[in-house]
Point group: D3
Chain length 246, copies 6
């Protein structure tokens, strides 16, 4: 049994319905969840991300104290993943890193399908750091702000279907990654759309993908390298309750 704690790094309540990940429980995963007390309503640019990170770190610290075996950050910008690894000893996984590495395993050319133009350079920088640039099809943008994803879920799915089809047909992508964790639960519709057009490829739903990997790593008794993610030196910190950690 592995306790995987999902930290949704925004303040918006109710946006993450755990029903979609509940099926993972049958694989021996106990799911816990936090949202932020301080931060933005959604993450769509570097600025939003910057404001999300401090309390995300807090929530990771609390998750470890609460007994979690692994942590997953619920945002495709992987905000706070690296600093959190410095302050906890359990594995902290980002869904973009995990999805990109899995996509590279499952196929030869991945396409990220995402919300708005503003996140494209952020995604491309993550691809540089994770080393998958060379296998990267152009990012597909459906031009839909995060907080509107659930307003008309059928329209969202239709946009995702169209963008995914483009990526496979025109850009020769052979794996699709959802570029926003807000698309959780939409894989079936896309798979069906692609299958009907003889364009089937794996479509990665980053939150369940990353939670399963987090559990696997925790069960293996592994975590990130402390020679890479060394604990912060103690020092004065103003303006943050988290200052007490270091």
């Amino acid at each position: 049994m592995a306790i995987v704690h999902l930290v949704t790094p925004i303040i918006t309540e109710g946006i993450r319905c755990l029903d979609d990940v509940k099926p993972l429980e049958k694989f021996g995963i106990e799911i816990r969840h936090s949202i932020l007390d301080a931060g933005p309503a959604s993450i769509e640019c570097e600025y939003d991300e910057a404001l999300a990170v401090p309390d995300t770190i807090n929530k990771c610290i609390e998750a470890e104290k609460g007994g979690a075996d692994a942590i997953v950050i619920d945002c495709m910008g992987d905000p706070g993943v690296r600093p959190s690894r410095e302050v906890v000893s359990i594995p902290v996984l980002g869904p973009m890193e995990t999805s990109m590495r899995l996509a590279a395993t499952l196929g030869s050319r991945m396409a990220v399908v995402t919300v708005v133009d503003g996140v494209v350079p952020m995604i491309e920088n993550l691809a540089r750091i994770y080393g998958v640039t060379e296998r990267f099809a152009p990012v597909q943008v459906i031009d839909l702000p995060v907080l509107e994803i659930e307003k008309d879920l059928e329209r969202t799915k239709a946009l995702l279907c169209e963008a995914s089809q483009q990526a496979v047909e025109k850009d020769r992508a052979d794996v699709i990654i959802f570029g926003c964790t807000g698309f959780l639960g939409c894989t079936d519709a896309i798979q069906k759309h692609l299958a009907e057009r003889d364009l089937s490829v794996p479509v990665l739903d980053p939150v369940p993908v990353t939670m399963m990997h987090a559990a696997a790593i925790a069960n293996l008794g592994l975590s990130h390298s402390k020679r890479c993610y060394a604990p912060p030196r103690p020092k004065e910190i103003k303006g943050y309750p988290v200052g007490s950690v270091a």
Copy 2:
């Protein structure tokens, strides 16, 4: 419950003791195992690998027919992984690919510690294909043929300890990957050696690492992209019983 089938791509009986992976059963993995009927006694060069691949493919086909949910090839050259993906629909994972991607997640600079000089160019080519070249510390070679690993296991561990220490101290590696699946079960000794010198880093034991990932991927209902690994066209094949598959 996921059935993970381990294919040891050599003819040598008894070299793979399943006791070392038995602990994985408690994570809901049923372990199955095959060795080859045709192939080499061990794999230490491209030639050995070439002779191992055809029957490895056979064993993958049989594993799928036998009800496996995922397959792991038990060799760090990842022999037969790509052709097998063309003929089965369940995930087939190579331990080098899986370990390299995990190492890139857990740290910033990985070192492979392996058996003999002859496999170094093979490992470097895999790093090129898997896209981790830039995070690659020099491969450490302990100069011990595969079939001698178990002859004096204490000596093997001592060599692994020394090579791993070199990689961390001198080459700034922050994750160690065993470069031969024959080192299965040796992580504890290396971890202890490194910890005593304040050089602790994650040490990846590729077989359990890959089996856990294979189970996770199977449980997620995912497999490799058939647009990347298309099934072979039917055609005449001479000299192989496997010819009947296509």
Copy 3:
């Protein structure tokens, strides 16, 4: 006088007509040829390739014993090139490696024009290992199985003309490489088609290109590095007559 032995790594008799390479004799090349006894009828995926390799190695060993000065493998997947280099001391050249390096010398952006979708990821992986990814225009696929190339040679040439024109006009390729050695002898038609449209670029016919380079390397008294391609260690091998070599 250099004896260059061409190993066609399939079992299909008559597919390789030596008339097309006969003109090379005037440059001091004695041409010898083998096809396989065990293997597939054609190579169109990793599976086919895997089954071709063991007997390809055999044929290389026999070619060296027979007095050849250099060996060329007659398939653009370069199957068996690396393992064969371990067991013979004369140069073994793959036509994809040789053509890619020559294309990089003759121009700035190469396009491979090939048979079917299934070989594209294989070709891209070879480009990664050979280091030409950055100069790679998208692979052009004419969607014609290998064994149908000669059924209607005029149609084959027409498809090659169209694909090559696309590569030059749309993708800015300035060198064309045939992505299947089965296109042997088709360069004149493509050159003419391109010249008539003021789109002339070098079109590489991989078999003669590679045979000439193999002769040059042999005449220089050079061969591959044995520190890179070390001879296999002796060990038991089951199910292969070649087992006796090591």
Copy 4:
């Protein structure tokens, strides 16, 4: 006349003495300066950086409102550079990015000489994003926490001399970058040390280097691309006074 505003992204008063940059005034630069109200006492890891970013963004917004023509962030982790570019329209420069690009212009192989081991992976990730990985000599670490730099400045300089000499003599670096803006003003000592050993190379003092470049860019009437750094969409933000910006 260009007003360049230096934002020192820590809370420690007095650490940045403007005397060292005063000479820039003769080149038509008016220097302004802020430190943080909320954040860490120094930046030595990703965690420190994460806590520095939100108020750094604030200070950039205030700097622009106050009439600055360009902003320089006073830390070699380039914290907050990218999010700040989204919320201001004047150029925001990071000293690591600017120094790395200048070093690539002035020589062929750069070495960063920095404070502690913990920042090495951060620096290497910046090198990946800025595209200079291939020209990167190993980072030299003098093992001195930021807040101790000024405690014994002679010792600091001696450590910098030794590390720079190593980089030039042993690693063939031909340009040195200070990896901490806290080394401001130490170039003369290092230059002298290297010159006496016939090892002279340019030694980049990142703060003046970046302030001069910031003024040049502002004077040219240029700023970052708003198609890359789009303004944040308005949304609810909790726990930050900066929330009002968006």
Copy 5:
């Protein structure tokens, strides 16, 4: 006050009107200028460039002797930049190198808009050496020889507008670089055209950009590394008056 000497590496008088850079004087730059006595009328290929380089080096030597603080070569092929750095001690900057590095700072994906097809491979090779290949949108060619740029300046601007729009709209470029210094002074028209279509991005006019950077580097007291650009050894040189330098 920094004296920046502009060397226009062609023999054509009157093509470089200094009026366009005159505004830089208000930033403390004294502008000096030379054209060649020996060389081509314009530079549009490697051959033209080769003939421009020897006298360009002469003009750099003279510029330094004349008291210049920095030199800018007035051609986007950066001809003579590297050899000139070996024979002078003041900074010598190429406008392509400087513009590419600035474009990488200001955005995430740059497009070069240039004169004729023949210079595209030269530009791509410079991108390789400067390390920006990965952020490179396809070069846009307006198919206008250098000496015709000023014949119908309105047509030139119209072609630049169209090409820049293509680069932003179709290729997702977020910074534009003029690929010929002959386009000096055309930025306003392009900026206006893009702004009217809501496609504003920075448009870099390489000569003023590079002169401002040259002044900044000179004012900082920096120059290129002599360990990278070592002075030539004295030796006999025939056919060149410059032979006397070495």
Copy 6:
């Protein structure tokens, strides 16, 4: 029979003794040779190279007019190779490009052994353009000016032996490239030295290697792509007799 014209791009008579390449005649190569009328006595930096290029181009034009089938430039900086390709239609090969590509074919890691420090950045830039950076062991420098190579040939060979041994033993190189064509004829001594230490690797003597490849390419009826190396547009050229070509 292929006529291969060797252009030695310096003015020093007698430095290139054709006896060393005479053995190539038995492979059907007719050898012709030119040295420069205008240029430097030797090439050891970018400045020397710049002065060598214009007359090298002349000599290439004359060589083609004289009936040559292919041209080889006799210097490891490959000076004038690219501009010459624009003005002749026969293949022009550089020995560094040809040797680097052959080394990549024969092994996995190449080391260049060269004369002086000053050429190292030039060689590294060529490696960038030719795409072999990743397979590059550190360049070994024997610190011997070009014109002293033949003064004490035994000492030269001893230095080459030592440097090559270093490259193989310490840097794991498995192919050696002479980094100066002045080392012509020294391979036997190095091969013997390495063989005696059980360190045998291929040692490439660039002039014969490149002449054989040039003949092979010419015999195949191939040459460089005119879409990459377009002929110069006609224009006024001052100060060069070659001006008449364009």
